[in-house]
C-alpha cells in the first residue's frame, strides 16, 4: 500500500471541512444552499478515512511493516530537520479506526440532531476539521506534528463548545476549555522543547526518540515526563485541569459525544502510550500519573453523584473513566488503557447520543429531575441507554466490564493497593450515579406531560450500531481466563507493558468483587431512585453539588487575580508611574522654561547687568587661566 494514503486520511476531512466552511459562508451571506449537500459532503469524509484506515489495518494485520510518509521538510533550522511526517503503525491505525468509526456514526447522528439548525454547515465544517486534527494527532510521526493536531482538536473543541456563540455562557465555556487546555499545552511545549534539546537533534520522530531517549539523564526525563503529562492532564481533563470538561457540555450533544467523551479527551492517554518508551524509563512518574488518575476518577465520581444535569453527569463520568485510563497507562499497561479508551468510546458515545436523543425528545431540557418516565415514550433509547449504563457500570458481559476489570487487576498486580481500592470504590460509585441517572430519567413518574419530539432514523441508527459496539467491544480484550487471545494485547503488543499472568481463580475472584461492587451501586441507586417521587421539589445543594467550589476557587485565584494584576499594570504602573514620569519630565521642562522666562523682564538695565556678569565671569576665567 502506498504510504502517502496516510496523508489522505487526514486530508480528506480537512478538505471536506474547508469546502463545507466556504459553502457555509456562501450559504449564509449570498445564497442559501440545501442541507443535503452539506450532509453528503460531511459524512463522506470520515467514512472515506475509515475505509482507508481499514485498508491499512488489514495490510498491517497481514504483516506489513509500519508505514512512514514524509512529504516535506516542515522546518529545518540550524541543520536540524523536522519533517512533516505520518506514521502508520499498529497503535495509530488502531486509533484511526476507532476515531473514524465513532466519528462516522456520530456524523450520521448529528445529521439528524442538527437538522434545521442555522449553523448546520458550520457544524460539519468544524466536525470535519476536528476529525482532521484528531487524525493528524494520531498519525503524526513526531511530537511537534502531533502537537499541531493536539492544538487543532483543542481549537475545534473551542469552536464547537461555543457553537451557539451568541449566548455568553457557551463562549465562556469555550474560552475556559481553550485556556485550560492551553495550560496543559504549556506543559506539552515545555516537554517538547526539553526533549528536542536532549534528543531531538538526533532526529525528532518517534523512532529516533525511542532509540536515543535512554541517553537522557533520568532527572531530565522526569521533567519531560511530568511536563508532557501536564499536557495530557489538560486534554484528558484530569485533576487539576479537569474544570473545563463539565462546562464544555454547553456544546451540541454530538460534540460532547465525539469530542468530549469518545475521542479528543483520550488524546492524553494516546499520547502517554505513544511516549511509552519514555514513561517506561520513569516508572515513578507513571505512578504519579496513576494516582492522579485514581483521584480524578474518585473525585469526579463523587461530584457526579449529586449532579442534576444529564450531560454534566456524563461529563463527570467521563473524567472518572479517563482517570481509570490513566491508572492503566501510568502503571505501564498501555494496551489496557487503550482498551478502556476503546470500550469507553463506544459506551460513552452511546450514552451521550442517548442523552442527546432524550434532550431532543423532551425539548431541550437537561435536568434529569424534570424528565422521568421516559421508558414508555422512548423505548429504543431506553434500551440502548440501559446497555450503555450497564457497560459503564462494569456489569458483564458488556464492554466496560472487561476493560475496567483489567485495569483494576493490573493495579492490584502492581501492588498499588490504594489505587485498586479507589478504583473499586469508584466503580461502585459509578454504578450508583449512572443508575441514578438512568432510573430518574426513564423510570419514575413524569408529572409534566410534554409533547415528545420525533426522533429521526439518522439518530436512531447510530444508536443501534453503537449499542452493538458497547455490548461486544469488550470481547476484543477478553481476559486470559476466558480466552487464549487477547486481541488488543496482541495487536498492541509493544504497548502491553509485559503480560501479567494471574491465577485463574484469583482473576475470577477479582471479577466477582467488581461485579458485586457494581451491583451494590446499582442496588443503592435502585432503592433511592427507582420510585422517585417527582412531586417533591428537588433542591440539590451542598458542597458536592457545587463541585467542591473548585470552579469558584479557580475563578477567584486565576481570573480575578489576573484581572486585578492587569488593571494594576495598565492603570497604576503604566499610566500612573511610567507615563506620568515621562510626562512630568516634559511638563517639568516646560515649567522650568516658564520660570526661567522671568529673565526676559524687558528691563534694559537688568539685561545690561547680565551682560556685565558675563563679561566679569569671562574676566575671572581669564584671570584664573592666565594666572
Amino acid at each position: 500500500m502506498n504510504s502517502s494514503l496516510l496523508a489522505w486520511i487526514i486530508l480528506i476531512p480537512f478538505i471536506s471541512s474547508f469546502v463545507l466552511g466556504a459553502l457555509y459562508l456562501y450559504s449564509i451571506s449570498i445564497k442559501k444552499i440545501n442541507d443535503t449537500i452539506f450532509t453528503f459532503l460531511a459524512i463522506l469524509a470520515p467514512i472515506t478515512s475509515f475505509l482507508i484506515g481499514v485498508a491499512f489495518f488489514l495490510s498491517l494485520k497481514n504483516g506489513a511493516t509500519d508505514y512512514m510518509y514524509e512529504p516535506y521538510t516542515w522546518l529545518g533550522v540550524n541543520g536540524y530537520i523536522i519533517s512533516m511526517g505520518f506514521l502508520g503503525d499498529k497503535l495509530s491505525i488502531f486509533m484511526v479506526l476507532f476515531v473514524t468509526f465513532i466519528g462516522s456514526t456520530i456524523h450520521v447522528y448529528a445529521a439528524g440532531y442538527m437538522k434545521g439548525d442555522e449553523g448546520y454547515g458550520k457544524f460539519f465544517s468544524y466536525f470535519n476539521l476536528f476529525m482532521a486534527s484528531m487524525l493528524l494527532l494520531v498519525l503524526a510521526n513526531s511530537p511537534i506534528i502531533m502537537f499541531i493536531g493536539w492544538e487543532g482538536v483543542g481549537l475545534c473543541s473551542y469552536l464547537l463548545i461555543g457553537f451557539y456563540f451568541t449566548e455568553p455562557l457557551n463562549v465562556v465555556a469555550g474560552n475556559k476549555a481553550f485556556i485550560v487546555n492551553r495550560v496543559g499545552d504549556l506543559g506539552f511545549i515545555i516537554g517538547l522543547v526539553i526533549m528536542f534539546f536532549y534528543v531531538g537533534k538526533l532526529g525528532f520522530d518517534y523512532y529516533a526518540l525511542e532509540d536515543y531517549i535512554s541517553l537522557v539523564p533520568t532527572s531530565i526525563l522526569t521533567i519531560i515526563g511530568i511536563a508532557l503529562f501536564v499536557g495530557a492532564m489538560g486534554k484528558s481533563a484530569q485533576i487539576p485541569l479537569y474544570v473545563w470538561l463539565p462546562d464544555a457540555m454547553a456544546g451540541p450533544t454530538p460534540v460532547s459525544a465525539l469530542i468530549h467523551a469518545a475521542t479528543m479527551v483520550t488524546a492524553g492517554v494516546y499520547m502517554v502510550a505513544r511516549f511509552h518508551f519514555l514513561y517506561d524509563l520513569i516508572p515513578h512518574v507513571g505512578e504519579f500519573m496513576a494516582y492522579i488518575g485514581a483521584f480524578s476518577a474518585l473525585f469526579a465520581a463523587i461530584i457526579a453523584m449529586r449532579q442534576t444535569d444529564i450531560k454534566k453527569i456524563l461529563a463527570y463520568s467521563t473524567i472518572s473513566q479517563l482517570g481509570y485510563m490513566f491508572i492503566a497507562v501510568g502503571l505501564g499497561a498501555y494496551s489496557t488503557g487503550l482498551f478502556h479508551v476503546f470500550t469507553h468510546a463506544f459506551f460513552k458515545a452511546l450514552l451521550f447520543m442517548g442523552a442527546g436523543a432524550v434532550i431532543i425528545a423532551v425539548g431541550h431540557e437537561q435536568n434529569i429531575f424534570k424528565m422521568g418516565g421516559l421508558r414508555k415514550k422512548l423505548p429504543l433509547v431506553y434500551s440502548v441507554m440501559l446497555i450503555a449504563t450497564l457497560a459503564i457500570s462494569g456489569i458483564p458481559p458488556f464492554s466496560g466490564f472487561f476493560s475496567k476489570d483489567e485495569i483494576l487487576l493490573k493495579a492490584y498486580r502492581h501492588h498499588e493497593y490504594l489505587i485498586y481500592g479507589i478504583g473499586l470504590f469508584t466503580a461502585a460509585l459509578t454504578a450508583y450515579y449512572m443508575f441514578r441517572l438512568f432510573f430518574v430519567t426513564f423510570h419514575g413518574k413524569n408529572y409534566k406531560q410534554k409533547e415528545m419530539h420525533y426522533l429521526s432514523w439518522s439518530m436512531k441508527a447510530p444508536l443501534l450500531v453503537l449499542a452493538f459496539g458497547a455490548t461486544v467491544a469488550g470481547f476484543v480484550g477478553l481476559p486470559e481466563v476466558f480466552s487464549q487471545t487477547n486481541l488488543i494485547d496482541e495487536w498492541l503488543k509493544a504497548y502491553s507493558g509485559g503480560a501479567l499472568h494471574v491465577e485463574h481463580t484469583t482473576e475470577i475472584m477479582f471479577m466477582g468483587i467488581s461485579v458485586v461492587v457494581g451491583l451494590a451501586g446499582i442496588v443503592v441507586a435502585y432503592v433511592k431512585y427507582f420510585k422517585y417521587d417527582f412531586n417533591k421539589e428537588i433542591q440539590e445543594s451542598g458542597i458536592v453539588y457545587n463541585k467542591f467550589y473548585i470552579d469558584e476557587v479557580y475563578h477567584f485565584i486565576f481570573v480575578r487575580g489576573i484581572q486585578k494584576l492587569s488593571r494594576f499594570i495598565s492603570v497604576d504602573v503604566d499610566d500612573g508611574v511610567i507615563d506620568k514620569a515621562v510626562m512630568s519630565l516634559c511638563g517639568g521642562f516646560i515649567n522650568m522654561g516658564r520660570r526661567i522666562g522671568r529673565m526676559q523682564c524687558a528691563n534694559t538695565r537688568v539685561y545690561a547687568f547680565f551682560m556685565l556678569l558675563g563679561i566679569s565671569s569671562f574676566s575671572l576665567y581669564l584671570i584664573l587661566k592666565l594666572g
Binding site: F609, L612, L613, I615, S616, S619, L620, L622, I623
Partner: protein
C-alpha cells in the same frame, strides 16, 4: 609739572564722571560730563594730540553735549519724577562685579611687552598735517566707512525724529 597737570586733569575727569552718574538732575549731570570732556581734552593735549584736543572740545563739548542739553531743555523733563533710591547700592554691586574686569585690564597692560617709549616724541607729533597725512594714506577705508556711517546716522535721525510719517 606734567604729572601735576595730569593729576589735576584726571581728578577733574573722574570727578566729572562720578558727578555725571550720581547727580539726579539731568542738566547737572550733563554739565558734570562736560567737565570730564574738557579734562579729557586736556589730557589729549598732554599726550601731544593737539588736534584731538580741539576735536574733542568741538565735537563733544560743542556738538554732542550741546545737543543733549538742548534736547533736555526742549523736552522739558521734570526730574522729580525719577526716583532712584538704590542707585548707590547698585553702583556698589556693579563696582564689585567690575573688579575682575578692571583687574584683568590693568594686569594686561602691566604685563604688556615693552615695545614703545613714552617720553620721547617728534616735534610735530599729533598735529593736523601729520594726522591728515596718515589718515589719507593709511586709514582711507575707515574714513570712507565713517562717512557712510554718518550718512546712516543722518537718515536715521531724520527718520526717527520726523514728526509725522505719512499723511
Amino acid at each position: 609739572m606734567i604729572d601735576t597737570i595730569f593729576l589735576i586733569l584726571s581728578l577733574f575727569a573722574l570727578a566729572g564722571a562720578i558727578g555725571m552718574i550720581t547727580l539726579s538732575n539731568t542738566m547737572h549731570s550733563a554739565l558734570s560730563f562736560l567737565v570730564t570732556v574738557f579734562a579729557i581734552a586736556g589730557l589729549y593735549a598732554l599726550l601731544n594730540a593737539s588736534f584731538l584736543f580741539m576735536v574733542q572740545i568741538i565735537i563733544y563739548a560743542g556738538a554732542i553735549i550741546a545737543l543733549l542739553l538742548f534736547i533736555v531743555m526742549f523736552l522739558n523733563i521734570k526730574e522729580d519724577k525719577l526716583k532712584e533710591p538704590n542707585r548707590y547700592n547698585i553702583m556698589l554691586v556693579v563696582a564689585i562685579i567690575l573688579a575682575p574686569v578692571d583687574y584683568l585690564l590693568f594686569q594686561a597692560f602691566l604685563k604688556m611687552p615693552h615695545i614703545g617709549d613714552f617720553s620721547t616724541t617728534l616735534d610735530n607729533f599729533g598735529d593736523v598735517k601729520m594726522l591728515g597725512n596718515e589718515l589719507f594714506k593709511g586709514w582711507l577705508v575707515p574714513f570712507e566707512a565713517i562717512s557712510v556711517l554718518l550718512l546712516v546716522a543722518l537718515i536715521g535721525s531724520i527718520v526717527l525724529a520726523r514728526k509725522k510719517e505719512r499723511e
